[in-house]
């Protein structure tokens, strides 16, 4: 019955490219503007102390630390970006040429100039009073230990170099561009993943490899980097086409074959996730467990935000209630009542309690307009934390001192899962993640899931079509709450103590960022989003792979959220449906351009390409 459509590709509007523009034919004001914005941002980054704080982390052994890498990104990006040509019907597209390189160079130079200026100012003025990072150390970092004039020259040069390489990137054909990008990313990725790789290599008896790749005191060695770049670049050139065809083939599979392929992929992923921790050390497992907890939270929030379209900013409340009720039920030290239940039994009670709290919070807010609901849930989240913290209820929850000495999670008397053995925690989290994935996957494809979708689309119409929107939304809220309580209960058992300060609104926001970054409404996206962000940058309190970023991660989360909303609101790995919602107009236009739209519009005849029976 269903005919497959040809895989959608962007409409072929491009006319053949015109000759490259002459090297100096630039909209210089635009370049100056872009360069200045980048320069301003560079100065901000420098004054935020990132270069100094991140200098300790070596990326490529003698040449590059994370601190300096951060200062290279913007000139490079500005240099690349300035060569961008608007793709629009009627606008001539030029082939890339020396023009791009010159523009990139100029742009990058201005961007670098920001730091030059800053170095001069640092040397001559003292603004330490409001700006805490206005210090000789920063000057030292910018001048590489030399006189200020050196910084002026070197940053102009570095900026120009980075900007020009950005421009050069435009010159490369698609294939070599891809290879270059892969090479750079591979090296940076290897440097970022260092502790993980070393740890795994330890477990897998592959030290020989990592010893070559990484220097003793951290950082990819420079021969290692070269080899890695060569290998990854080669792979990119050879493998990319295959990867793409494989994916296309997978996407084109039908029915049973498709689900078998999917099942295969899922099994493979599960196998890796089950086997990997066995070879990993404590630190890696700790990281995995933390990431897993956030994946679990993100999956829960995804049901609320992604499926039902309810922006719940107080999601941390359920995490808190889950943690606290698990703590009260299992810990002998709980102030008021301590039934000291085994963890699994307690979990059932926790689910009931959180479900009720979900109903209690949900009922008053569920009829509100979406944005009011967001703020009110945020208020509830804050109220719940304040109550846990208050002296009034300290007889129950220990106030600011929280509840400590919470026993680990006893699983059928088989094992005891607690923070001392992060590997077990990870397995426990994994099991619950699997449950959460199953729940969201099944619900999305059910009568309830369709009702959520309808509510998200148009609540009035959904109501008029016989859907009890209040109940349906409330149910999403409660399902989300219960999934959140799982991670709360695991968190309590893992950390062994709960404090009100672990449940700041911040946590809600971080989970929201993670969900949006990955792609609302898409399970794979949500998992990938939390794995990348929490894994690399870290959670609200948990360190990630780049532990040096801890002071800056919230800044980055904020910027990332804004940037995602502006550039790619559907997220990293979007769900098809969300993409449609967010780009409806463009997609309809594209479809029209491809002549796919069903063409009955505007009267006259019946020219539509209907399949005749």
């Amino acid at each position: 019955m269903t005919a497959t459509l040809p895989p959608t590709s962007s409409p072929q509007l491009e006319a053949p490219l015109a000759a490259p523009r002459p090297a100096l034919a630039h909209d210089w004001r635009r370049i100056a503007r872009m360069g200045s914005i980048a320069a301003f941002a560079q100065v901000f980054i420098a004054l935020s102390n990132m270069p100094v704080a991140l200098d300790g982390r070596t990326m490529v052994k003698p040449v590059l630390s994370l601190g300096y890498l951060v200062l290279l990104i913007l000139p490079f990006a500005a240099g690349y970006r300035q060569g961008h040509q608007t793709k629009l019907e009627g606008v001539t597209q030029h082939a890339a040429g020396p023009n791009e390189v010159v523009g990139g160079l100029a742009c990058g130079m201005i961007a670098g100039g920001g730091l030059s200026l800053l170095a001069v100012l640092l040397a001559n003025f003292d603004l330490r009073d409001p700006l805490v990072n206005w210090s000789p150390i920063l000057l030292d970092t910018l001048t590489f230990g030399n006189a200020p004039w050196f910084a002026v020259v070197i940053w102009l040069a570095i900026g120009a170099g980075a900007g020009a390489s950005g421009g050069v990137l435009r010159l490369l054909g698609p294939r070599s561009r891809r290879a270059t990008v892969t090479m750079v990313l591979a090296v940076i990725g290897a440097a970022v993943l260092e502790s993980l790789m070393v740890d795994l290599a330890d477990g897998l008896r592959l030290e020989a490899l990592t010893d070559r790749l990484y220097a003793k005191r951290g950082g990819v060695t420079w021969p290692g980097a070269l080899v890695l770049a060569a290998v990854s670049g080669g792979l990119a050139v050879v493998g990319r086409g295959r990867f793409r065809t494989a994916r296309a083939r997978l996407a084109n599979l039908e029915g049973a074959k498709r689900s078998r392929a999917n099942a295969g992929l899922i099994l493979a992923a599960a196998a890796v996730l089950i086997v990997l921790p066995l070879f990993a050390g404590k630190l890696t497992n700790e990281l995995l467990a933390n990431v897993g907890l956030f994946v679990l939270l993100a999956l829960g929030l995804n049901v609320v935000v992604g499926l039902a379209g309810i922006l719940d900013l107080g999601y941390v409340a359920f995490f808190a209630v889950g943690s606290y009720s698990a703590a009260v039920l299992t810990a002998a030290t709980s102030p008021k009542i301590s039934p000291e239940m085994p963890w699994l039994v307690a979990l059932i009670v926790v689910v009931v309690i959180t479900g009720l709290v979900g109903l209690f919070i949900g009922a008053p807010v569920i009829r509100m307009r979406g944005d009011y609901l967001a703020i009110v849930t945020l208020g509830f989240g804050e109220i719940i934390r304040l109550l846990f913290q208050s002296d009034w209820l300290s007889g129950w929850f220990g106030g600011a001192q929280g509840i400590t000495l919470i026993p680990g999670a006893n699983i059928f008397g088989l094992t005891e899962v607690s923070g001392t053995d992060p590997r077990r925690v990870f397995y426990l989290v994994l099991a619950f993640c699997a449950l959460a994935i199953y729940v969201s996957w099944r619900l999305e494809r059910s009568r309830l899931g369709r009702a959520w979708m309808a509510v998200r689309e148009d609540e009035t119409v959904a109501e008029a079509m016989g859907i009890n929107t209040v109940n349906v939304k409330l149910l999403a809220f409660v399902v989300g709450a219960i999934l959140g309580s799982f991670s709360g209960a695991i968190f309590a058992a893992k950390v062994g103590s709960v404090f009100p300060s672990s449940f700041l609104i911040l946590v809600s926001i971080v989970i929201l960022v993670v969900v949006i970054f990955g792609g609302m409404g898409n399970i794979v996206g949500v998992i990938a989003g939390s794995a990348v962000l929490i894994g690399v940058l870290g959670g609200p309190k948990q360190p990630g792979l780049l532990a040096e970023f801890s002071e800056f991660k919230l800044l980055i989360y904020g910027a990332l959220l804004v940037w995602m909303m502006l550039a790619r609101p559907e997220g990293l790995i979007p769900s098809v449906r969300r993409t449609r919602e967010l780009h409806q107009v463009e997609m309809a236009q594209d479809a029209w351009l491809r002549g796919q739209v069903d063409g009955e519009d505007g009267g006259g005849g019946d020219p539509q390409p209907t399949v005749q029976p």
């Binding site: 059910s446 979708m453 309808a454 079509m465 069903d598 063409g599 019946d606 029976p613």
Partner: protein
């Protein structure tokens, strides 16, 4: 599904109890009386057209019946029970479905999903069924799908085939209107309220849809109320015509009577039309 008594028409209906009855229904927006003491009766198996100039309160009548706007006075009785105070979804599940004047589909859901989701109030399987993937759940899913396909097939080839899996926003205007009707049918109503179903269609399409409205009554047994500006369609489909102006019913009867009613002509053309 097909009601045997469907085609008995208004003559027989007169002795029966009306399916839907509004009693002195009034709706106010601020000071404006959009509906003023409206008495209306719809019988089973009947097709009634509601006409009137722009702003006469026709859509407001539908909104009031489906509880989308609150009425300020009067009563709405459906199958002997008052609908007052019910939520819109309860009105729909009690057997009244509607379409919207400014087509409001679930634009990003597929055509099939649009129809499937509209069966919500007629199906039961809840979260647990879905989670445990019970046999009852699977059976119901299959039924929902079959019923949706059957409904879509009612519109010929226009909404089936590859189109069934396309998002609703890719449909042409006429097809969107058809899908709205399909969605209303999917709620398994006794009464369907169609708000300007042929607006924006070309004459061929509009004639075709007019035929479909007749078949909706004959084959599916729905009672139908149509708001329509196109007098050709009104003459074609209606058993009875009700004319509204400024929220007041100014005429009622079969098409010929109404079309020649001086009050109606005045309402449409204005008092002393023809004067300079």
């Amino acid at each position: 599904m097909t009601d045997v008594q469907a085609a008995t028409g208004p003559a027989a209906a007169a002795v029966r109890q009306p399916l839907l009855e509004t009693r002195r229904l009034s709706v106010e927006f601020g000071g404006l009386k959009a509906l003023d003491d409206l008495d209306l009766e719809i019988y089973e198996g009947e097709i009634v057209s509601v006409i009137g100039p722009n702003g006469a309160g026709k859509t407001t009548l539908f909104n009031a019946i489906t509880a989308t706007v609150e009425s300020s006075d009067g009563d709405i009785v459906f199958e002997g029970r008052s609908l007052l105070g019910l939520d819109p979804n309860r009105v729909t599940s009690s057997g009244i479905a509607r379409t919207f004047q400014n087509v409001r589909l679930f634009a990003n859901m597929s055509v099939l999903e649009n129809v499937m989701v509209s069966q919500h109030c007629r199906t039961k399987q809840h979260a647990f069924g879905a989670l445990l993937y019970t046999r009852a759940f699977r059976r119901e899913e299959a039924e929902i799908r079959q019923r949706a396909e059957k409904i879509l097939e009612f519109f010929g080839t226009r909404l089936v085939g590859y189109r069934m899996d396309q998002p609703a926003f890719t449909l042409s205007y006429a097809n969107r209107r058809r899908l709205e009707i399909a969605r209303a049918m999917a709620t398994q109503p006794k009464l369907i309220l169609l708000d300007e179903p042929v607006a924006g269609m070309n004459p061929v399409e509009s004639a075709e849809l007019t035929g479909l409205i007749g078949r909706l009554r004959d084959e599916w047994g729905f009672a139908i109320v149509v708001i329509e500006h196109d007098m050709g369609v009104v003459r074609e489909v209606s058993d009875r015509v009700v004319v509204l102006d400024h929220g007041v019913k100014i005429a009622e009867g079969d098409y010929a009577d109404v079309a020649n009613d001086p009050q109606v002509i005045e309402a449409y053309l204005g008092k002393g039309a023809g004067d300079p």
